[in-house]
Symmetry: C3
Subunit: 353 residues, 3 copies
Amino acid sequence: MDNRRDFLKKTALAGTALVAGGGLLESCKRGDSVRAGNSVGSSKLIVPKAAGVPITGTFLDEISHDIPHQNWGEAEWDRDFAYMKAVGIRDVIVIRCGYRKFLTYPSPYLLKKGCYMPSVDLVDMFCRLSDKYGMKFWFGLYDSGVRYPDGAAEDMENNKFVIEEAWEMYGRKYKSFSGWYLSKEFSRRRMGMIDAYHALGRQCKDISGGHPTFISPFIDGKKQVYKEKEVTVVEHERDWDEIFSGIHDVVDACAFQDGHVDYDELDMYLTVNKRLADKYGMQSWTNAETFDRDMPIRFLPIKFDKLRFKLEAAKRCGYDKAITFEFSHFMSPQSAYLQAGHLYDRYCEYFGI
Amino acid sequence: MDNRRDFLKKTALAGTALVAGGGLLESCKRGDSVRAGNSVGSSKLIVPKAAGVPITGTFLDEISHDIPHQNWGEAEWDRDFAYMKAVGIRDVIVIRCGYRKFLTYPSPYLLKKGCYMPSVDLVDMFCRLSDKYGMKFWFGLYDSGVRYPDGAAEDMENNKFVIEEAWEMYGRKYKSFSGWYLSKEFSRRRMGMIDAYHALGRQCKDISGGHPTFISPFIDGKKQVYKEKEVTVVEHERDWDEIFSGIHDVVDACAFQDGHVDYDELDMYLTVNKRLADKYGMQSWTNAETFDRDMPIRFLPIKFDKLRFKLEAAKRCGYDKAITFEFSHFMSPQSAYLQAGHLYDRYCEYFGI
Amino acid sequence: MDNRRDFLKKTALAGTALVAGGGLLESCKRGDSVRAGNSVGSSKLIVPKAAGVPITGTFLDEISHDIPHQNWGEAEWDRDFAYMKAVGIRDVIVIRCGYRKFLTYPSPYLLKKGCYMPSVDLVDMFCRLSDKYGMKFWFGLYDSGVRYPDGAAEDMENNKFVIEEAWEMYGRKYKSFSGWYLSKEFSRRRMGMIDAYHALGRQCKDISGGHPTFISPFIDGKKQVYKEKEVTVVEHERDWDEIFSGIHDVVDACAFQDGHVDYDELDMYLTVNKRLADKYGMQSWTNAETFDRDMPIRFLPIKFDKLRFKLEAAKRCGYDKAITFEFSHFMSPQSAYLQAGHLYDRYCEYFGI
């Protein structure tokens, strides 16, 4: 009888029979076709559909920095890759392979330095799943948690070993290993930063036979909580002109985070960022954040229309590639934040998926 | 096999077969009878049942101000109206039709001023659902995000157009369109406020042939984070006597928020508020907040007993109508906050629903 | 059709048929065997299994202090006890029977003093469920919310009555009533604290024929937000030597909270704490917190590996008993925080449950 009550209570969380009967990927595929069919019928959009840049890449937030961990095992990750695939994601980027003492993989070098042994080799798992689902896997470098310029040497030294390990342990082995993410998030030119990015990018490309590299910095805008001072777009352009000038030969793409400025300012920044990237022959992507920076809870999934505004702004400004931070917490149907599953639905509805 | 594990893991989140087989409303109705039947059997209440004022109205938190968005589509909203109906809610109030640049409906006037186009006409959807479920729909005015007295003129000017649009677009069309909510939340008398409320209330009533209007202010109590100073109940009564005196001919009801003072002080404030309303021939409702102001996470659903204390205090003080902020996040069985569904159950148990 | 969409959307939240068909406890038992079988197959652990101290006790967070309430009724609590049992928990500890005006049980003494009447007698319910599931129930004393030394007398006076009530109302009646938890959480020696602990411990033991008592203090470490100053381990040992010296004849065990110091410092503190307890013939348990203190949301479930680090540190330092704060929010498959269910799975996987 108690269970009968539950039956009724959680109708919105339901879902068994179809899934139970089939394999994961098949049920996801079926799910999406069913989902799309229904979505079209169920909401009345008053804006043009698919007018934004679609999201084709996502970070994998391991090691988690300020987003609570979901404690997924391989079964959940496998299912999440299926959900990603169904929605058009083809690139997955481990945001950092380690942060301070926490690691995603059993790095011989970092373990000797006192880092903690992880219970699962997440990099190996992500590579296997990327192979299985035909994704491109990007490896995010280690973050020592130091500040530049003082910590630059330490960061460089650590990553010298990490890059080598990553290539030997995963790069040579997995077909899906496709590129490198230089994980340090800068907002402006700092002493030592250009040299560091350049040296790391160079090493990544050399060891891997030229695999692409990218960065995903943030703009020191009004929503950046820890900012030293809010920059003007002029300062922003001047700083990044100098940075791109110094790194463009070893960094292939730049995906600025789109959440630190107001929706109104986004066209301006997107335009400047693309102009700079074009000038130096780099690709310009947008990192369309799927969490909401405007709420007191830090952080839950973004309101769909805000995401739409940002993807449409990117389209207007000539972008053709969007990645996001990140699918699994903020957009996945199996996220612990149930708003994420609804964002997934709204996204599918809008893009006709 | 993986799915089999999930079967067991999430027993509390289960629920499919009954719902899948029937229409939404029917399954909700059935659900509630089943729910009630079980609830009676499963918990041992040691207090008298239904000793509080029942909640018969709820805000619809669009545009969301500090509560993260659930990203529901029309299917989820339709289901939520069914859940509301089942629990006795008859009034739904859009808390504001717009806030700064974010809109619930495609306002020709506000879009021209630079507001963002929403992907769905939520006001239209809420009116349709209100018609479908026999609810009374209340339209909340636009909030320019300005501070009084400086911004009063801007707020007034914008709403002059918004009220006209709302009436033309929805008021004339939908049977459920029943009243107006003057959405600016004041705590005390401010320069310009009485004039503003009076003008807006007057316009709302004139255009709609006298549809009722109401306000839902807060008390500058100890839990009001942004307070300038905590008021005494004497100051509170003096301020609101002056305000009611100035607006009572065009504002039909006042529903003070009940969450800013301690549970101990509530009888005192409820008594004063009702005395004032009675004096001016206004109706006195209580806005029984269903989120918890006492926790570090801002905000999750309230503990049932706290809600009960507040509804019982209202009953003791002679109130007969309670609305809430708000059902869909904090009390709905399909809320992303699962505590809300359990609050729904506790509420049904207590009121014998 | 709408429901069909939901079927697919929430695959991770599914789970009905097996549970619906059987009793709660049976389905949990079956669930765990299925769970374990699958877990072994589905994740690839690269660390030795079960190398940490298993958790065999949990607090019951009623009255909730800074963790939002789940609004569970008896059905949910019954199910949670089944989940606890399945994972090896044998001790349940009501963290406090009352806090300021909020009560878990209808205390004649405290109600007369103005506390609020609870709608359910939670202590009675927890005792009944403990009897049903073969758990040991521990009763947590009342917290007046006062600061020591000024409030010590008030706290002592109140608890003098509360201990008597608890023993008369529940201790004599329920087989599961097994011990007492002295609920005041201290970090260091404070004036009046030793006398208070001693007097309360003495009374608890005397009235109940020697039932065991324990405390669960915190370390004034770097993660203690409200600390006056961060203590060194030397100061910590000196303070607690004095405290244990004064209370060891009436306090049987001490379970320091393990979340206020860094993972690196834990061995040091665990060693010191055990040395002290051994010196005074007390038992040394660890309170392995299952919420994450490193995240901006206060608080969500901890990342499994962090919990593992702490349980393994306890094992290394010679501990054999771990309790947690707390199962129902942070580790239960039916928690409103879905990360908790996944933590449960990871925990089962690691311990081969």
